[in-house]
Subunit: 770 residues, 2 copies
């Protein structure tokens, strides 16, 4: 085990202390939120039903995912590694997964109590300010939790495993990413099945408002906001945080030895301090909108973050690379000043976060051009709304991807073209970007809470018109903040994945060196192509195509799962309206629990397919085609992933807010044909922005980490002269078969509902019933 | 100049003869079509109006594109090359562009006469069989024209330039691809602006049927079928043909010397013979559907094609690589049998065409699961129709991309991992795929003609119900064949682009060798990264991201252009209904010409932006980041391009046929809510499948060929120690600025229509008017 100096250990100890302070702040903020007025008994009853549904879903989801986690825990022991690292990595995997689950649970459990409190204050004087405060503070709890647990995990591993920490941390990041991906997919399917189902019958068919208590899917819809947009998102951001840290530590150690290992922890600890500051200073002043306050909080904490990180770097690093102990050979005579280089990279990350914040706000905000353009196309019907939203999504994806690409190029130039330094700096830019994560999480949590508060208010019927308008405004802010968080999350994914590429190449090189001359040097023909990163080699290009295809397939599966599950909800809600005529007159209460239960079952069943695809696609490509094409595969997933994720998130956000523009009285206002057109747009956008889009972020990381973990095994089975190609191809085929069977199984489920006879029967039954 | 043997020249002479025979067959088929009954005076009047509009559009389009072509002709002289090659390449560019335009014009000019003939026979006894025959034969003319002109061009260049032919042919392929891209985009915007505009006012607002003569946009809609789906498609397939041939000849010469140069011409000449056979044997028998006959024609010609190509290869090639004169050094001791290797590659190409044919038919046909599933989701409204169509599009894209990837892997294994041989074989697989191009073009042309025939019949009111049903059936077949052609075209794009990658790498290597030790060998830092193909290098990855982004931006621009242009048509058609109340009662004739004129102007204005983007994005990336990232860029465009193209084509095809399923009486039939939902889906799909999707195919090739052409210049400006980095960065910035300004200009056009006041004014005007 590589030992660390006492200074380093002291610093890491202090950082662990900062992490614990962050967690204490989270507890204090939580108390503040819970101290607020809890509203009328009717409101509490509704909020109680939502809380119950959310708890039940998460419990069942954790049970399902627990099984997955145990299997993966076992599989980790099959991969070649140093025994001590192997055990540490597997245990760290469990911690990563556990923390990811815990932060999701924490977020959800507070959000379901905050919603009723926001609803309760809405009609009171100064309700907008206080409501926004409660919602934002709840987000603050989650934000401080993310920062605290992430930092604590990383610092803990470093304290225990010292120099071996990077390899062990791979497990931590993998656990966090895997669990977050499942929570994003499962929660995303739940929330949108309920939302789409509720809207299709309620708004479109029966013409009753959103969150009307006569709609049987309305409680499920509100449960969904908490399990998807809140728990899933919190886990997702935790995972982003963990994976960026992991990548930075691995690359830091490779580039700058011990100081490179500690530096990312310092930058991230600065982020924890900044997050606390951001959460405390973000307050709505006077009549300004919630978004203005949030933006101010973000920009202030971004500037403070850069300053603090700069000071810390100036203190911690020497002025020449040669003076850094354990610096890598090719960096020793690098002409740059490591202090300035690191500060510039961190600053690029922070600026990137700011630009994405602005750009996403521009594309999805209710006051800016693109969303107003989408709203204006409602005059020519739903088709043009869908088309213009897709156009907005495409362009916003391109500009976001372009800006991320520009940031990477900037970092690369700062590194003077030294690839290893560049990779470390990309990871540090990710750390810089994440210094603002506390505020970001708080912003995001704002969305589901204000959405829920609106639901509680509408269902209880106890909030007056002014109060309802307050909640509508908060909800519109929530739509934009949710889109912004997704943009930032995907930016971290690209930076982390780019950096992890370096770790991947390093793992491959190490594995090839172990084989020695007998393997790598004499490889030719097919084997040479299997280890070639050359993008002009046909099978590397095949890897790129397959990587992009995996992103498309994953997105399609997630969207299909929502369409299917929502269809089932539609039939159930229709059935309740038909069989219980008292519902419409308000005399009978719909069976909310049954819809919640259906959503729970469907989403847990549906999450397996995309999950298995993400885990097994890189295994099939890696063992089947080699480490070179697997690198191409990862490049394809990053390229297609960032574009698809932003496209899905922003088109969805634009549709949602275009609907709000029409509801504010434009183009005919509520109940007009234009309104109906925007409702269709919004419904199309639902699974885009809340199921498929956000799940791509953890997807990219899961596939990267799986590739990193299997790389040595792939090399061992493909390169040596006596390589076991039979076993290699067997593993590839088995992995491909598992992924394919999972996809076919989900198709079969679709087929079951949709054979021609079933459809005709369903129609006949419905016709007979009505 | 490398001389060719007399044997080779004789073979090429014979091939040129075959090309001329193919053209003669096209003339004969054309006479057969024109000999058919031309219908009633009313029908002829309508067809005349369509013809006039189509001619006017193409004339104006060619005038615009002529200016572009002349500018590019001049720019080609700025690029470094041997003077003789430079002149030849520029002239070949003009020929490629001219042939592309000619084939588009030829297809359109016959299609506008065939439509009325198909409409005229529909009500007659045996109308289905005869109508399908006329439509298919018209396609045959275009198919033979594509094959004849493509082969004639390639053979002609080889006869004149002998061994220098490959470099000169780059110009030929580039001209064909550039013109085809513009024709695809311009025609695609025209056709869908008219179609969407007509549907939105006609079907959705006024509730009148498609092609109702009271709709002012109906003539424009039919003109669009001819200029977009027919002329644009014909140019596109010609371009595919030309570029695959170019890639094969370049790589063939590199791998196998003279015989490698001639072999692709032989395989393609076999394709010409097979195409003639396919067109002649494809006849509808008894009561079978048009699709069955077309499929039979395809499969028969595919099998015959493989057999003939195999015989030709066995005769032409020796049994060992060593026996091939001028074989490349690393291939000389390759253990395989070149005959078998080549036959296997060609067979893989043909099989790939067959699989794509089947797969696309499965995903978009009216009788198979996916489209029926989309139709069934109409029971829950437009949103679920849109979502399920997107799901179908995503999965079909993944499977199509997966199969193309599998074909490349297969070829790679056959080549025993020898990269150069593999690249040549990929190109040969493309030639194999294109042996079926004659039948494919005929299949595709079927679509717009039957669509138009339906239009003529509806407008004239002179076709009885049975005849209308015949035309509806033919139109549904057309929807599927159109989707199939797009699948095949994109497969050729991937194969051609993969192969061109090899030419690209070769061009870079040659340029680096010319610089010698002073440059490449000593390059380090940033410059080393600029010439690195390593996918794990951050800026190569940036290239991949930017490549994918370009595809997304291009797609978004094309879709936005249609949304904008269609919006203008909607307001115009509404205005005519309002100001000329006699239209609705049939007493007044709408002003068809004005709508045609608007579509013409709008589409010609809108085509510039995507065109400039395609041409200048690779220039910006190449000069800005270097040849390595440019390779990453190309990989990104191929990966994202194939997925996006198939997604757009197949989701559009599925929506179109889902609408047909409902119109056939399912889920409530015509006029039901389900019908309205599928109309919305179909309208969303219109710009997907007929504007953005098909234009991606030439886009990929244009970007590849631009990169190939600029590669030596990029190397000269970036690698040598005294490289002019100022000029390099200046060129990159200028190219980026041109692309960006073009995009912003199109946004400004959007902005002009959509400022808040304009919208409010527009609404006020309309409200006052109605």
């Amino acid at each position: 085990m590589l030992e660390l100096s006492t200074t380093s250990l002291t610093i890491v100890g202090v950082i662990a202390g900062i992490a614990i302070v962050a967690l204490v702040i989270a507890v204090l903020l939580r108390r503040q939120v819970l101290a607020a007025d809890t509203g009328s008994p009717r409101m509490q009853e509704i909020a109680g039903a939502i809380e119950e549904g959310a708890q039940a879903f998460l419990r069942r989801q954790f049970r399902t995912l627990g099984i997955f986690a145990v299997i993966v825990f076992g599989l980790l022991f099959l991969l070649p590694a140093d025994p001590e690292v192997k055990i540490g990595r597997a245990i760290a995997f469990l911690f990563g997964a556990g923390f990811s689950a815990a932060i999701g649970y924490l977020g959800m459990s507070l959000a379901v109590r905050a919603n009723v409190r926001v609803a309760a204050v809405a009609s009171k004087p100064d309700g907008r300010r206080i409501g926004a405060g409660i919602a934002f503070r709840t987000g603050g709890v989650v934000g401080m939790g993310v920062v605290g647990l992430g930092l604590l995990g990383a610092a803990g591993v470093v304290l225990v495993y010292r120099g071996d920490a990077p390899a062990v941390l791979e497990g931590f990041g993998f656990g966090a990413a895997l669990l977050a991906m499942f929570m994003r997919v499962g929660g995303g399917i739940f929330t949108k099945a309920a939302d789409v189902g509720a809207d299709l019958v309620g708004k479109v068919e029966q013409g009753i408002p959103e969150d009307d208590p006569r709609n049987a899917a309305t409680i499920a819809d509100n449960v969904g906001d908490n399990v998807g947009d809140c728990a899933g998102m919190a886990a997702d951001l935790f995972e982003s945080y963990a994976v960026v840290l992991v990548a930075s530590l691995i690359l830091g150690r490779a580039a700058m030895g011990e100081q490179g290992l500690i530096l990312p922890l310092i930058v991230t600890a600065v982020g924890a301090v900044v997050a606390a500051l951001g959460v405390v200073i973000t307050k709505v002043r006077g009549s300004e909108s919630g978004l203005t306050a949030i933006n101010r909080g973000f920009y202030v904490s971004a500037v403070v973050g850069v300053l603090l990180a700069a000071i810390a770097t100036l203190v911690y690093l020497p002025t020449t690379f040669g003076a850094i102990q354990g610096v890598s050979e090719d960096l020793a005579d690098h002409p740059g000043n490591p202090q300035l280089v690191v500060i510039a990279a961190v600053a690029i990350g922070v600026v990137l976060a700011g630009v994405i914040l602005w750009l996403t706000g521009y594309y999805t905000g209710t006051t800016s051009g693109p969303t107003r353009h989408v709203a204006s196309t409602s005059r020519t019907g739903a088709a043009t709304v869908v088309l213009s939203g897709i156009g907005v999504g495409f362009s916003s994806a391109v500009y976001t991807a372009g800006i991320i690409a520009a940031a990477i190029c900037g970092v690369f130039l700062i590194a003077g073209g030294n690839v290893w330094l560049a990779l470390f700096l990309v990871a540090l830019a990710g750390c810089g970007l994440l210094t603002t994560v506390g505020v970001i999480v708080a912003m995001d949590t704002f969305g589901p809470i204000s959405d829920n508060a609106q639901g509680v208010a509408e269902m209880s019927g106890e909030v007056d018109e002014a109060g309802a308008q307050v909640l509508t405004d908060l909800d519109a802010v929530g739509n934009t903040t949710k889109a912004i968080t997704k943009g930032i999350a995907i930016a971290t994914a690209v930076l982390a994945a780019t950096a992890l590429f370096g770790s991947y190449a390093d793992a491959v090189t190490t594995a090839l060196e172990e084989i020695g001359d007998a393997g790598a040097a004499t490889a030719d023909g097919v084997v040479a192509a299997m280890v070639s990163y050359d993008i002009v080699s046909p099978i590397t290009l095949v890897g790129v195509i397959l990587g992009g295809a995996t992103v498309f397939l994953f997105s399609g599966l997630a969207i299909d799962a929502v369409t299917r599950a929502a269809g089932a909800i539609v039939f159930e809600v229709r059935r309740q309206f038909r069989e219980m005529p008292g519902i419409m007159t308000g005399k009978e209460r719909p069976d909310y629990a049954r819809v919640v239960d259906m959503c729970t079952k469907d989403s847990l069943r549906e999450l397996a397919t995309p999950g298995l695809l993400a885990a097994f696609a890189p295994i099939a490509v890696g063992f089947g085609l080699g480490v070179g094409p697997l690198a191409g595969f990862l490049a394809g997933t990053i390229g297609a992933g960032v574009l698809m994720a932003v496209f899905l998130a922003n088109s969805g956000g634009a549709w949602d807010n275009a609907k709000k523009i029409v509801e504010d009285g434009h183009y005919g206002g509520k109940g007009s044909e234009a309104h109906e057109a925007t409702i269709i747009g919004d419904t199309v956008g639902d699974p885009f922005k809340d199921t498929a889009g956000p799940a791509i972020n953890p997807l990219i990381k899961v596939m990267n980490l799986v590739s990193l973990l299997i790389a040595p095994a792939v090399v061992q089975l493909s390169v040596p002269a006596d390589a076991n190609h039979g076993l290699r191809i067997g593993i590839a085929l088995a992995a491909a078969a598992i992924a394919l069977l999972a996809v076919l199984a989900s198709r079969r489920r679709a087929g079951k509902v949709d054979t021609a006879e079933d459809i005709d029967n369903a129609i006949a039954t419905e016709a007979a019933g009505s």
